[in-house]
């Protein structure tokens, strides 16, 4: 009874609605809601009965017989556990969208219900002719709905759908005839009984039909046009009901096709994924983007059908398809950006969750399925694995571009559509629930890094770094929205990161941290570009990390390709060697204290990753350590030069951050105790001073509203404390004794000389003196020189920003005067992990290496003693000059006209730039825009296939059919 209700209530509703006179829309709506709710309850009951919510085994089923005898004389439906889950989604989507249909096209209610019926029927069909009937109903209803919607291109979208549906009918019926002629049966299971020439014909016909219907590349053109042309409500309903049904039906049929080796599906899928996503890069309208994303999931389905079997196949497909449908549904329901549906605040977040879901970002459900699926591919199908990884990365790129273009259009009003809210909440709930699947357990034992000492250092760094950013989050400027929540999430994930015990856990926390920060960045004013770059590079490093982890089967004991992939992931995260573009765009765009977190704390996750790879390798070294050290050295130099020439406070700090991270790489590349001591020391040091600097920048921005050097200067009078803390940080990162920075350089140089890496040393030393250029530029550009009248109102930064800076400045002092506190802890820890080289000897305050000595305490005493002496001497000698106004300078006997005219700031290091002019101007930006152009060209090449002429798409299908025929016959 329940079974029948679940399937036929919508049909009944459709009939009633069709009979009801159009005059009483209210009554018809009530009928629809009643039928749908009852049906939904029935489906939920069925799903509970079948144990679908357990998720472990989705193949349990019950048969619903509707007549006497067996198919095709009666319609027999097999209701599977996985299918009930999909049915719930379909019902829910229909219920949620009913309201909007009632608003726009009230007469389409019977069509909606019919679409649901067709979807349910196709989902549960066991018979090939029944499937045909439902396919036809679905197509007809889709065309009808499109034709009934209120959008300009509906006829064209409808005609294209109709053309394809016509062809599909022909091919499908041919297959039915051949099947029946050959086996005398029409059940899906009969597909296995066909043999010989009939088998080939049935297989190629049905495969063409399936690829066309699920819109997998290369037969995806009509789907793109359809999604673009139809209204967003129709597209939303379509993707959550009909498209989902077709995909799951295809998933049911594909393994049964008499095709010989199903690996061919995987090849079609993998190639299609790469090509379609290349073309997807060029898509601009939201419908088309969704179309490409659909194509991606269709291709994934093909890959899954070709490479997996049994319960794993079912689970993977069900989760991937159901959740991608939900995501598309909510994106469509949120409306098209072209249609002036303006969103802000919560709205952009609502918009983001489905995007993150489609991109497979943890902890959202698709992540788990993708992770398990990719792990499976990595273990047996390396080429397909790489192709899928590349395709998914491309997909992430255009999805994030879509999102950032979208979040740019923030308007005043923030409408929240209940359907989208519900879908998003559903996804978040599902993400918790989905972990029930036995797709890999989370492990927080910390077994990736055996050394508890190292783990504790990183735990502490991440926790402190996050905490110090928090007080300042409420000092926001203008339209900046609250980002504290995302900062907290990102920081929390980072803090747990060192405790990860397996690859899955590490990757999960890494991605959560990265994408929580991406969302945080998006809260800044005019942050869309920065967000996009961050999201793209975070995806890039995420996928590289994923590739590495999966290729080494989740373990960090790796060598060869996985180690290289992971190393590159870390380099991208650190913005090394050309990838600094994202840092330079993201940090200035990020709101408030978030840049401090990103640069100071979050970038250290990459250090942790490199440490994890190294400690798990046989000799505790990174692959190609020398190359890594060179990358670090060259980045340190290039970053320093770019920082010196940067015209903007935060941009300079971003370049400087990248440059300073290069020193950590030099140390890690050494794989000696000295090198690692230097690297970890500098990791800590960099966290401290960079956070202090960025917090200072946050204060300056907060009080003046600008970070451009040309608008700043002279703030020392207004913000003395910020200046003091910045000065301490600057002295420290310029490595001037007695502050902390000298220690990292000294240890590093000793390490480099011990290993004889003198060229690296020279580049590193050069970079460290170039750092003086930007350190002074920073101090002068912001705090010294003439105070511009524009900033006359500026005050000292608020306490929530100052207090963390004060703590960090104190830490710099402590670390500078007594580095032995840290070294006494660090050196024994590092001695245990099997690094080469000699450890520095610590005697009291004295640190000794084979060649050098360093007594930070004595140096500190000397400097402070002398300075104190001079200070006191000055003070008591009765020398009390009077402070005069800033314009009171020796200026050719005149009073300078205005502060702005005598403030030397624009193009500060002009002669230096001129001296550099012999270098070819290799801008990373140009390289990346070259990459961008290349991809666009490839994308244009691919999408040239989709001419927009409906007949082309038919030709595609037929050519595909012929190629399959040739290929399969050749193979036989």
């Amino acid at each position: 009874m329940v079974k029948a209700l679940a399937i036929f209530l919508p049909l009944l509703g459709a009939f009633i609605n069709a009979w009801l006179p159009g005059k009483s829309p209210k009554a018809s709506r009530v009928v629809s809601y009643l039928m749908l709710t009852a049906g939904l309850i029935a489906v939920i009951m069925l799903s509970i009965q079948l144990g679908a919510w357990n998720l472990r085994d989705l193949s349990d089923s019950v048969i619903l017989s509707t007549g006497v005898g067996s198919p095709p004389l009666s319609i027999n439906l097999e209701i599977t556990a996985g299918g009930t889950l999909a049915a719930i989604v379909m019902y829910a989507a229909t219920i949620f969208s009913l309201h909007r249909f009632a608003l726009t096209t009230p007469k389409s209610q019977p069509l909606i219900l019919a679409l649901l019926t067709a979807s349910l029927g196709l989902l549960f069909a066991t018979d090939i002719f029944n499937s045909f009937v439902f396919l036809e109903i679905g197509s007809i209803v889709t065309i009808g709905l499109t034709a009934a919607c209120k959008c300009g291109s509906r006829w064209e979208a409808a005609i294209k759908a109709a053309l394809v549906s016509g062809l599909v009918t022909i091919l499908y019926l041919l297959a039915v005839a051949v099947l029946y002629r050959s086996t005398g049966m029409l059940t899906l299971a009969a597909l296995g009984n066909v043999s010989g020439a009939s088998a080939v014909i049935v297989a190629i016909l049905l495969l063409t039909v399936i690829v066309t219907e699920i819109k997998a590349f290369p037969l995806t053109g009509w789907g793109l046009d359809f999604y673009q042309g139809t209204s967003s409500i129709v597209a939303g309903l379509y993707s959550a009901t009909w498209s989902l049904a077709v995909l799951l039906w295809a998933a049911k049929v594909l393994p049964l096709l008499p095709i010989g080796n199903p690996i061919i599906y995987a090849w079609i899928g993998a190639a299609g994924l790469v090509f379609s996503q290349l073309a997807g890069l060029r898509a601009s309208s939201s419908g088309r983007i969704m179309g490409y994303s659909t194509s991606a999931y269709a291709s994934l389905l093909l890959v899954a059908a070709g490479t997996t079997t049994g319960a794993f196949y079912t689970q993977t497909v069900i989760v991937l398809m159901i959740f991608s449908s939900i995501a598309k549904f909510s994106l469509f329901m949120l409306g098209n950006p072209e249609k002036k549906d303006q969103w802000s605040g919560f709205g952009t977040l609502l918009f983001l969750v489905p995007i993150l879901l489609l991109a497979g970002i943890p902890p959202l459900p698709i992540f788990w399925a993708k992770f398990a699926f990719l792990a499976h591919l990595a273990s047996g199908f390396p080429v397909i694995f790489y192709a899928v990884l590349a395709g998914l990365l491309l997909e992430a790129v255009y999805l994030f571009r879509f999102w950032s273009a979208r979040s740019e259009k923030t308007g005043e009003k923030s409408a929240k559509r209940p359907s989208a809210v519900a879908a998003v909440l559903l996804m978040l709930l599902a993400s918790v629930w989905i972990t029930r699947m036995s797709w890999g357990a989370l492990d927080f034992s910390g077994s990736i890094i055996e050394s508890a000492g190292l783990r504790n250092i990183f735990h502490g760094l991440f926790a402190i770094g996050t905490l110090l950013c928090l007080p300042g989050v409420f000092n926001r400027i203008g339209r900046e929205k609250s980002y504290w929540f995302w900062l907290l999430i990102s920081g929390a994930a980072l803090t747990i990161l060192p405790a990860a015990g397996n690859g899955l856990t590490f990757y999960l926390l890494w991605e959560i941290s990265a994408f929580a920060a991406v969302i945080g960045v998006s809260k800044g004013t005019a942050a869309s570009k920065g967000t996009f770059w961050y999201a793209v590079f975070a995806s890039l490093s995420g996928y590289l990390l994923l590739g590495g982890i999966l290729l080494s089967k989740g373990s960090f004991a790796m060598a060869g390709v996985p180690a290289v992939l992971i190393t590159i992931a870390a380099l991208v995260k650190m913005g090394q060697f050309g990838t600094h573009l994202w840092n330079v765009r993201t940090y200035p765009a990020a709101p408030g204290t978030l840049p401090a977190f990103l640069s100071g704390t979050s970038s250290k996750a990459a250090v942790l990753l490199l440490v994890a790879v190294a400690v798990n390798s046989s000799s505790a070294s990174l692959p190609w350590g020398r190359v890594i050290a060179w990358i670090g050295a060259l980045t340190a130099l290039g970053g320093a030069i770019l920082a010196a020439l940067a015209p903007d406070y935060k941009k300079m700090l971003a370049h400087a951050s990248v440059s300073q991270l290069g020193y950590i790489l030099m140390g890690l590349g050494l794989a000696s105790i000295l090198g690692w001591t230097a690297a970890i020391y500098h990791t800590i040091h960099h966290l401290i001073f960079k956070m202090a600097l960025f917090l200072g920048a946050a204060g300056v921005l907060y009080r003046t509203g600008t970070t451009e050097f040309n608008n700043l200067g002279g703030l020392v009078k207004k913000m003395p404390w910020t200046f003091a803390f910045t000065l301490i940080s600057v002295i420290s990162f310029a490595s001037i004794p007695p502050l902390a920075g000298f220690g990292s350089k000294w240890l590093l140089y000793n390490g480099l000389i011990e290993q004889g890496w003198l060229p690296v040393l020279i580049v590193g030393m050069f970079a460290s003196v170039v750092a003086f250029l930007y350190s002074f530029r920073l101090l002068h550009g912001v705090f010294l020189g003439q105070l511009s009248p524009k900033n006359a109102h500026a005050k000292e930064a608020p306490l929530p920003l100052l207090i963390p800076q004060a703590l960090l400045a104190m830490a710099i002092m402590v670390l500078g005067f007594k580095p032995t506190i840290l070294l006494n802890f660090l050196v024994p820890v590092l001695e245990k992990i099997g690094l080469s080289g000699l450890a520095p000897v610590i005697q009291g305050d004295m640190v000794l290496t084979t060649m050098g000595t360093w007594n930070a305490w004595m140096v500190g005493l000397m400097v402070m003693g002398l300075f104190g002496f001079a200070f006191v001497f000055y003070w008591i000698s009765g020398h009390k000059p009077k402070y005069v106004g800033q314009l009171d300078i020796g200026f050719a006997g005149e009073m300078p006209p205005s502060a702005d005219e005598v403030h030397y700031s624009n193009n500060f290091f002009r002669p230096y730039q001129r001296a550099l002019s012999f270098l070819p101007k290799i801008h990373a930006q140009k390289i990346f825009s070259g990459v961008n152009k290349t991809f666009n060209m490839l994308g244009d090449g691919v999408r040239a296939l989709f001419t927009g002429d409906g007949r082309t798409y038919l030709a595609h299908s037929l050519i595909f059919l012929l190629l399959l025929f040739v290929f399969l016959n050749g193979g036989m």
Binding site: V716, I736, P737, I762, F772, M862, L866, F871, V902, A915
Partner: protein, 299 residues
């Protein structure tokens, strides 16, 4: 205690020696130009005169503290270098660090100077600083390479060790053992002493006296004594690095005097580079020289 006395005496001695050398150089320059020039003690007189005058104005905290930074930085460098080898009381603070520490602590005073110049609000002072930093970052390249070549060649970073390794006769001096590195370092020494053709920082024709433009009277006297101390410290450092150090006071004075005269003489006969010319010259010529020895050491 003896150490403290030695430190105080070192500071006073170096100050006097620096001022005296400054006076001598003024005389020598004048003679090269065909003038009589001032007395050799003129710098002492100037210094005293400036010190006695109290400044009546200042431009802010950093302006106020810059001379202290300057003088502290100079004294630190001075104290980190052993004066007379074998006479351990004159090693002052050199036990506390090696040549890398000296290289980096040299910047302490420069930074202080730059901060003061920045806080003075005078555009010329800042232009001078921007030039000075650009040039410094260039000559430090060849200087570092030279130092690394020597230190690695002698297998010690400790200045004491470097000096001790040069005690076996005049041919064991690093200038003979590492001729190319020494040449590089000696070229770098010219801009370090702000000598022509690299005198772009103080360039009187363009930016009156560079960074200390706004300084006067007692502030200026501190600046000058800082410069004198720093100059002496650099002389002793170079003598220790390249010329076998000093085994007694006479040799210290003679060697530093001769070394001091080298930029004075070069300075008198050369015109001045433009900033970017100076930077490029320093990037390529002394660096390539120093690299020769570095490669030799590596092999």
């Amino acid at each position: 205690m003896g150490n403290i006395v030695s430190i105080v005496l070192t500071i006073l001695g170096a100050l006097s020696w620096g001022l005296l050398l400054g006076g001598i150089s003024r005389t020598v320059t004048a003679r090269i130009h065909g003038r009589m020039g001032p007395r050799v003690t003129q710098n002492f007189i100037d210094m005293w005169k400036l010190f006695k005058k109290t400044s009546s104005i200042h431009h802010g905290g950093m302006f106020w503290m810059a001379p202290m930074f300057r003088i502290t930085g100079a004294i630190c460098v001075l104290l980190m270098v052993p004066l007379v080898i074998g006479n351990s009381i004159t090693y002052n603070m050199s036990f506390a660090g090696d040549i890398f520490l000296v290289i980096y602590i040299m910047f302490f005073g420069c930074l202080g100077m730059a901060l003061g110049a920045g806080n003075s609000g005078h555009p010329y002072a800042v232009i001078a600083v921007s030039r000075g930093l650009a040039q410094m970052s260039s000559y430090e390249l060849s200087f570092s390479i030279a130092v690394v070549a020597i230190a690695v060649g002698l297998k010690t970073f400790r200045i004491e060790g470097i000096v001790e390794a040069q005690q076996a006769g005049i041919l064991s001096w690093n200038i003979f053992r590492f001729p190319f590195a020494s040449a590089g370092a000696l070229i770098a020494f010219l801009p370090m002493q702000m000598a022509y053709p690299f005198g772009i920082v103080l360039a009187p024709q363009e930016i009156p006296i560079g960074p200390p433009t706004e300084y006067s009277s007692r502030f200026l006297s501190f600046m000058f004594s800082g410069r004198a101390l720093f100059g002496t410290a650099k002389l002793i450092l170079f003598v220790s690095l390249l010329f076998g150090g000093a085994s007694n006071w006479i040799s210290l004075l003679v060697k530093t005097f001769l070394l001091y005269m080298y930029p004075v003489v070069v300075s008198s006969v050369f015109p001045r580079f433009r900033t970017e010319q100076s930077i490029r010259f320093l990037w390529f010529v002394p660096t390539s020289l120093a690299l020769v020895d570095l490669i030799r050491v590596m092999l």
